[in-house]
């Protein structure tokens, strides 16, 4: 199992089915074939043995059929000789009878025993067949000495009938023969029988050969009938042995197996493989002992021939098995591809879905197997996916619509905010603002616009909620403010009016805190009212920051009838009022610390000289972002900075305080403007009213002189530089008129009687009296008058 994935072929269903089925079937096939082969081979071996037995018994029967009558005949002759005891002369006739009686007998003799008590002379006539007749030979010759020969001795000594081994009758009949020797006895009146001689019959073994040749050997193998070992070797090939040897192993001879066969008989084995090397090819040897004559039947059966049938069977089985396997593989492949093809088809279809095509086709024909179940499941999945994607598409479209609407809403809301750039106000104020909504649309608002009555009206607001409800409420507030704000009301009345409209139809119970200011851009008079809003911070030119405290009225939209106290105060040119929503002060850092009013105040105090409202606003937003990087998430954030910048006045900070340079035309109007400015600045810094009057008086007296002395050319210039330190009010008046030191004139003689007085010089006298110090200098073609006054009234 673990090795299967390494071969890609076995990752497929077909590969696995083939692997596992063949892994089981092939060994079973092989085992079955082996067992069948073994079984067949065994049967064939047994059959071969049985054939050998049959052959042996057939041969034995044939031999017996020849031999037994002869044996019986010779025994009968011997018995007659004992009974009758004829004289030797009659022996020949008796021998002739034997030859006549048994055609298989080649020759016969009756040899007389000469030894012992018989005291007879040797006598042994031998008759034998010759050329169709009968030949005679006398064996009783001294040279022959038959009494000593084996055929005689064995019968004589054993006193019983005995067969000789086969022998080749060399010099006699020149044929293979066996001799049957039967002793015969002489009876005495009393006493034991005594040996009288031996009757023999020589059998020509040609009939044995013939019998062997006639014998049916069976379709395979080679066989021989052979004499027993130790005897002269007589070999009679059986049936077609001779031809077969040529076809098997030409060098094969029966003698080679006589010893082997004898050993086998000694160990009671009758069928075994020949020892290796005995023949050219492996072969079996079957051996049988014939009882008659003690001969052996040897059968050599080439193994290949014996097992040919088994092999043929095996081959047939292999052929059948192979064909079966091929069929099996084909069937498995068919079944497997029947499974995997639809699965591949499904996989391909479903694969198309990766590219987003969910309309992939699935087979329609219903199957009732697992593939059918899978197809159904996929179909349901596909339909369900299509359904969900359609739903999701609708959802996305709805979201996109909502997003689009929100975008439009945000842009509408942005359009409600003033579009003017900070410098666009021509009226002596610079305004900058930033609004960072927490969501796409927010509940903060600000507004600022000029009014026909010479002022700038501005406001900041924070609706009680966030998101769309707040935005809608904000839009309503913004619209009301624009409409009502243009009507000329001051902040207190304006807030009250807006509140009344909001409160009378405020079913949603929302409210907005708002700070509203009105700046008279000619004087710097600021009027401010608050509806529950955080007090704005006033940043003075000198860097001092103080909250513009106003008594709060209720937030707008809460009570129908509410009043809003109005604060009035002057601001100096260069002063900046910073309005903000709680998104600034309550922006929380990661450690939950709030940005806070102190941080905001410190940030404003650090303001370097000449900072514009736009830079100020940007710095506040940046600082809040640095303190609380995700402040967008919590609340809307709005900052509005209004800087009072009247034309003709340049404010600047100095080491010991602050100063303003007021430039005016050289005319009574110019004087008026300067006086107005001076009053406003000093009032903004809360200088005592009396000192304000003194300052104005000095300026008027001195500037009046300047205007009176000026050239009529109209290219005159004059300016007043007002500086405020902790202790002093410093005023420097410059003009480019003709050099003139008013201080050089004698003081008016105020002590003389009125009628005699010159009305001139009174102004200078006043200046001298009011100022703590007056100096004149002519610098770069300009008259420079420097006046110092103690800030506190003496």
């Amino acid at each position: 199992m673990s090795s299967a994935p390494q071969w890609p072929a076995f990752r497929t269903v077909r590969g696995r089915l083939l692997l596992w089925i063949l892994a089981v079937v092939v060994p079973i096939y092989a085992a079955a074939m082996y067992i069948s082969y073994r079984f067949t081979a065994e049967r064939l071996e047994i059959g071969a043995q049985r054939d050998a037995d049959e052959l042996a018994s057939r041969l034995a029967a044939e031999v017996d059929a020849v031999i037994r009558p002869i044996e019986g005949g010779i025994r009968t002759v011997a018995a007659q000789l004992e009974e009758v005891d004829p004289p030797p002369e009659q022996y020949e006739s008796r021998i002739r009878g034997v030859l006549a009686a048994w055609p298989d007998v080649y020759g016969s003799t009756i040899a007389v025993e000469t030894g012992g008590a018989s005291e007879r002379r040797p006598f042994a006539p031998y008759l034998f067949r010759r050329d169709g007749g009968v030949g005679f030979s006398d064996l009783a010759l001294d040279s022959y000495a038959y009494q000593t020969l084996p055929w005689y001795r064995r019968a004589a000594d054993g006193l019983d009938a005995v067969w000789s081994s086969p022998y080749f009758d060399a010099g006699g009949g020149e044929i293979w023969m066996v001799t049957y020797s039967v002793p015969f006895f002489r009876r005495a009146a009393e006493g034991p029988r005594s040996l009288a001689g031996v009757v023999t019959a020589d059998l020509d073994l040609d009939w044995v050969r013939a019998a062997a040749e006639r014998a049916a050997l069976g379709p395979i193998g080679m066989g021989w009938l052979v004499s027993a070992p130790g005897q002269e070797s007589f070999v009679a090939p059986i049936g077609p042995t001779a031809e077969r040897i040529a076809g098997f192993d030409a060098s094969l001879e029966a003698e080679m197996f006589r010893d082997v066969g004898e050993r086998m008989l000694g160990s009671s084995t009758t069928f075994d493989l020949l020892p290796a090397g005995s023949a050219a090819e492996p072969a079996y040897l079957a051996v049988r002992a014939l009882e008659t004559l003690d001969w052996r039947l040897l059968l050599v059966i080439p193994r290949a021939d014996l097992l040919r049938e088994a092999r043929a069977l095996l081959e047939r089985q292999l052929l059948l098995g192979g064909a079966g396997l091929v069929l099996l593989i084909a069937a498995i492949s068919f079944v497997a591809s029947g499974i995997s093809r639809p699965i591949h088809a499904l996989a391909e279809s479903v694969d198309g879905a990766r590219a987003g095509d969910l309309d992939f086709r699935l087979p329609e024909a219903p199957r009732h197997d697992e593939v059918g179940v899978l197809t159904e499941a996929l179909r349901r999945m596909r339909d369900s996916l299509q359904h969900h994607i359609a739903l999701r598409a609708e959802d996305l479209a709805a979201r996109a619509r909502l997003e689009h609407e929100l975008e439009i809403a945000a842009s509408i809301q942005q359009s409600m905010l003033p579009r003017r750039a900070a410098h666009a106000h021509p009226v002596g104020a610079r305004v900058a603002a930033a609004l960072v909504p927490a969501k796409r649309v927010g509940g903060d608002l600000y507004d600022h616009f000029e009014r026909g009555d010479g002022g700038l009206i501005f406001a900041i607001g924070d609706v009680s909620d966030k998101g769309i409800p707040a935005a809608l409420f904000m839009a309503s507030v913004s619209g009301l403010f624009k409409v009502l704000g243009s009507a000329g009301e001051l902040p207190d009345r304006l807030l009250a009016a807006v509140n009344e409209r909001l409160a009378e139809s405020n079913d949603a119970c929302m409210f907005v805190t708002m700070g509203c200011g009105f700046l008279d851009v000619s004087t710097g008079l600021l009027r401010y009212a608050s509806a529950g809003h955080d007090p704005p911070l006033l940043l003075e030119v000198g860097g001092k920051v103080e909250p513009l405290s106003a008594e709060n009225g209720p937030a707008l939209g809460v009570e129908t009838l509410a009043t809003y106290p109005l604060v009035e105060r002057y601001v100096a040119p260069g002063d900046t009022l910073v309005l903000f929503t709680d998104g600034v002060t309550e922006a929380a850092a990661a450690d939950a610390s709030l940005f806070g009013l102190d941080r905001l105040s410190a940030l404003l105090t650090e303001r370097s000289l000449g900072d514009e409202p736009a830079a100020l606003v940007r710095r506040i937003v940046d600082a809040v972002g640095a303190h609380a990087p995700d402040f967008h998430a919590t609340d809307d954030l709005t900052v509005l900075a209004v800087m009072f910048t009247p034309r003709g006045v340049t404010a600047s900070r100095r080491a010991d305080g602050e100063q303003w340079l007021i430039e005016a035309e050289v005319s009574p109007d110019g004087i008026r403007e300067v006086r107005q400015r001076l009053r406003a600045i000093l009032a903004a810094r809360r200088v005592a009213a009396e000192r304000i009057d003194d300052t104005e008086l000095i300026a008027e007296e001195l500037l009046t002189n300047v205007v009176r002395a000026a050239n009529l050319g109209g290219d005159g210039e004059m300016s007043v530089e007002l500086a405020l330190t902790r202790a002093d009010i410093l005023m420097t008046i410059r003009d480019n008129g003709p050099a003139f030191d008013p201080l050089s004139r004698p003081s008016a003689s105020v002590d003389v009687e009125i009628a005699d007085r010159d009305v001139g010089g009174l102004g200078i006298h006043l200046v001298r009296e009011l100022a703590d110090d007056c100096r004149y200098a002519r610098v770069d073609g300009r008259n420079v008058l420097t006046i110092r006054m103690n800030r506190m009234v003496a």
Binding site: E690, E696, E700, T704, A755, L762, L766
Partner: protein
């Protein structure tokens, strides 16, 4: 930044000044005084400055001019109830003698009664 001038029609008129008497507004007072001076035999001219917030040398000059026009004929110029700032300027330039400045109309009446008494006594 304006001046409001009221002149009553009494034989000895009282001129009430409200607002600011400076270089800009002094000419208005001058022309008003010119009309007053057309009347002959004014024995007494009273400036009620209780509502005058500011006076500069140009305003002082008007007062001096009034004195020069009236006093040669035996008349008197009186200033009633100046605010501290105005009083300070008047004191500095001595445009009106200290005895011609009164804290209130009542003080002026008292003073005038005393003079009439003196005349009667003589």
């Amino acid at each position: 930044m304006a001046l409001k001038i009221t002149v009553d029609t009494a034989p000895n008129p009282t001129i009430t000044l409200v607002g600011r008497l400076d270089t800009d507004t002094a000419p208005e007072l001058d022309s008003a005084l010119n009309k007053v001076f057309e009347r002959k035999g004014i024995a007494r001219l009273v400036f009620d400055v209780s509502a005058l917030d500011y006076i500069s040398s140009a305003g002082i000059r008007c007062l001096v001019r009034a004195r020069k026009a009236i006093e040669p004929g035996g008349g008197k110029v009186a200033v009633v109830n100046p605010q501290p700032g105005v009083r300070k300027v008047l004191d500095i330039v001595k445009a009106v003698p200290a005895k011609g400045i009164f804290a209130s109309v009542a003080e002026l009446d008292e003073y005038l009664d005393a003079i009439q008494q003196q005349v009667r006594d003589q």
